[in-house]
């Protein structure tokens, strides 16, 4: 019973977090703020669902693979975000007009672009 409750909890929170991520992706004003939502909430959401699944099955193979899924997400999601963020920034995607400060622009201006 407790197991079922746990499963339900994790699945529901995963679903809810995904919804939040979705709302963020839709509602946030610029790319970078949207990425906050997508990267963090999305990863946590899918991890929660994975945990729910692990608990549901409680088998070695499922657990190991579930952990693999989570590990991969934790490793790749930020890297992917970083790659897109940096690419977007460098290719001139506009920050939200209310962005307060841009130190990269001021400091990093003189830095030669590696690929240019």
């Amino acid at each position: 019973m407790i197991r079922e409750l746990l499963v339900a909890f994790f699945l529901l929170s995963g679903g809810a977090l995904s919804l939040v991520a979705a709302a963020g992706v839709i509602r946030m004003p610029d790319l970078f703020t949207r990425m906050h939502a997508a990267t963090k909430t999305g990863t946590v959401g899918v991890s929660a669902i994975t945990i729910g699944m692990i608990i549901h099955f409680s088998e070695v193979t499922v657990t190991s693979r579930g952990i693999l899924v989570i590990a991969f997400f934790l490793l790749t999601a930020p890297v992917a975000a970083h790659m897109i963020g940096r690419a977007a920034y460098r290719s001139g995607v506009q920050l939200w007009i209310l962005t307060r400060i841009d130190e990269w622009k001021s400091h990093g201006k003189n830095e030669p672009d590696e690929e240019a």
């Binding site: 991969f72 490793l75 790749t76 890297v79 970083h82 790659m83 940096r86 590696e114 690929e115």
Partner: protein, 138 residues
């Protein structure tokens, strides 16, 4: 030169991806997977490597020319259909051998497995030929 972060992540992901691809290949006969998806994974691992470093680096890691990998894979798949010739059976008739395992169980090894391994290499080679050539294009 791409990002340090990306390259570091790639360096850590590359071996597990290859291992995973072999796992998918070998389990394919009983569980979802098989030579095709396995080969795609292996190829993806190299593609990732080529993206993070360079095509030249990825070629170095692979050592062989992807086209040779493809040809060898195709040859393997073809050859796996030949053994039944010796027992006067049709082409590609599955031939199985049961090997005892040290832990007491048994392992079925058959020509379809070799066929699947051939598929794996073909897919790997093909994917890499595509990715490398496109990546090298001016």
């Amino acid at each position: 030169m791409t990002s340090i972060i990306f390259r570091t992540a790639t360096r850590y992901m590359f071996p597990p991806l290859l291992v995973f691809s072999v796992y998918v290949l070998l389990r394919g006969h009983h569980y979802p997977g098989g030579g095709f998806v396995g080969g795609l994974f292996a190829g993806s691992a190299f593609a990732l490597y080529a993206l993070a470093f360079s095509v030249a680096d990825a070629r170095k890691v692979l050592r062989a020319d992807p086209r040779d990998v493809t040809a060898v894979g195709l040859a393997l798949a073809l050859l796996s259909g030949i053994p039944p010739l010796f027992s006067k059976e049709a082409f590609l008739t599955g031939t199985w051998w049961t090997l005892p395992l040290p832990a007491g169980g048994t392992l079925d090894i058959g020509t379809p497995l070799f066929f699947d391994i051939g598929v794996y290499f073909v897919v790997l080679g093909v994917l890499l030929t595509l990715v490398f050539t496109l990546g090298e294009e001016e």
